[in-house]
């Protein structure tokens, strides 16, 4: 691969930078709307039938996965190396945070010190850590 081709692969086209930002903001808005709708609609109590049919659940999951894959493919083609490395660090540290927090919480729970592990809390905290590391490396 020539230097120019490598540079083209690792660099982004500035004309598309605002498109990328707009796309990510739009994706975030759509994702928040879907999660909010699912959370509000899914108010079935334990023991009651689930609020969503299996087909509706599969539709949401497949739509989300395909949408996520499309956004990632677009992102990888458009972003530059500086942003990509910030992302790799962010995701790595976010994962390490998740991998470290969950067993510590589990151990503390089984020692009677804290309540049971709330994996959604750990998941969201890990995402915030990853975002924070990405933002720090991207904009410091």
């Amino acid at each position: 691969m020539t230097d120019m081709k490598m540079a083209e692969k690792t660099a982004s086209n500035s004309k598309h930078r605002h498109v990328l930002r707009t796309m990510f903001l739009l994706s975030a808005a759509v994702g928040i709307a879907i999660v909010a709708a699912v959370t509000l609609l899914n108010r079935s109590l334990p023991g009651e039938p689930p609020a969503f049919s299996p087909s509706a659940g599969l539709f949401v999951v497949l739509g989300g996965l395909l949408g996520f894959a499309a956004v990632m493919a677009f992102y990888m083609r458009r972003t530059d190396e500086h942003d990509m490395i910030a992302n790799l660090w962010g995701l790595s540290i976010g994962y390490l945070f998740f991998a470290g927090t969950a067993p510590v919480w589990w151990m503390l729970h089984h020692s009677g010190l804290v309540g049971p592990v709330n994996f959604w809390a750990v998941y969201i905290a890990s995402a915030l850590v990853a975002s924070g590391v990405w933002g720090w490396m991207r904009f410091r």
């Binding site: 230097d3 540079a7 083209e8 690792t10 660099a11 930078r17 530059d80 190396e81 500086h82």
Partner: protein
């Protein structure tokens, strides 16, 4: 890694955004390279050298003597 990017850019009266457009990277990437917070990849270093019509060694200094 120390570099002369800021000086070379200033000599041409380019903003960071101008240089970023020419290199096809974000303005934050140019800023990070200028402040030695980020070392560019070899392809990007070559692109920078080509843009300024210089060698990589004339722009970037890794602190080691050539010899």
């Amino acid at each position: 890694m120390k570099n002369r990017l800021k000086v070379l850019r200033a000599e041409r009266d380019w903003t960071q955004a101008d240089l970023a457009d020419r290199l096809d990277v974000s303005r934050q990437a140019v800023n990070a390279i200028e402040r030695s917070k980020y070392d560019p990849s070899l392809p990007l270093a070559f692109a920078i050298a080509r843009l300024f019509d210089m060698t990589i060694e004339e722009i970037f200094d890794d602190g080691h003597e050539n010899g």
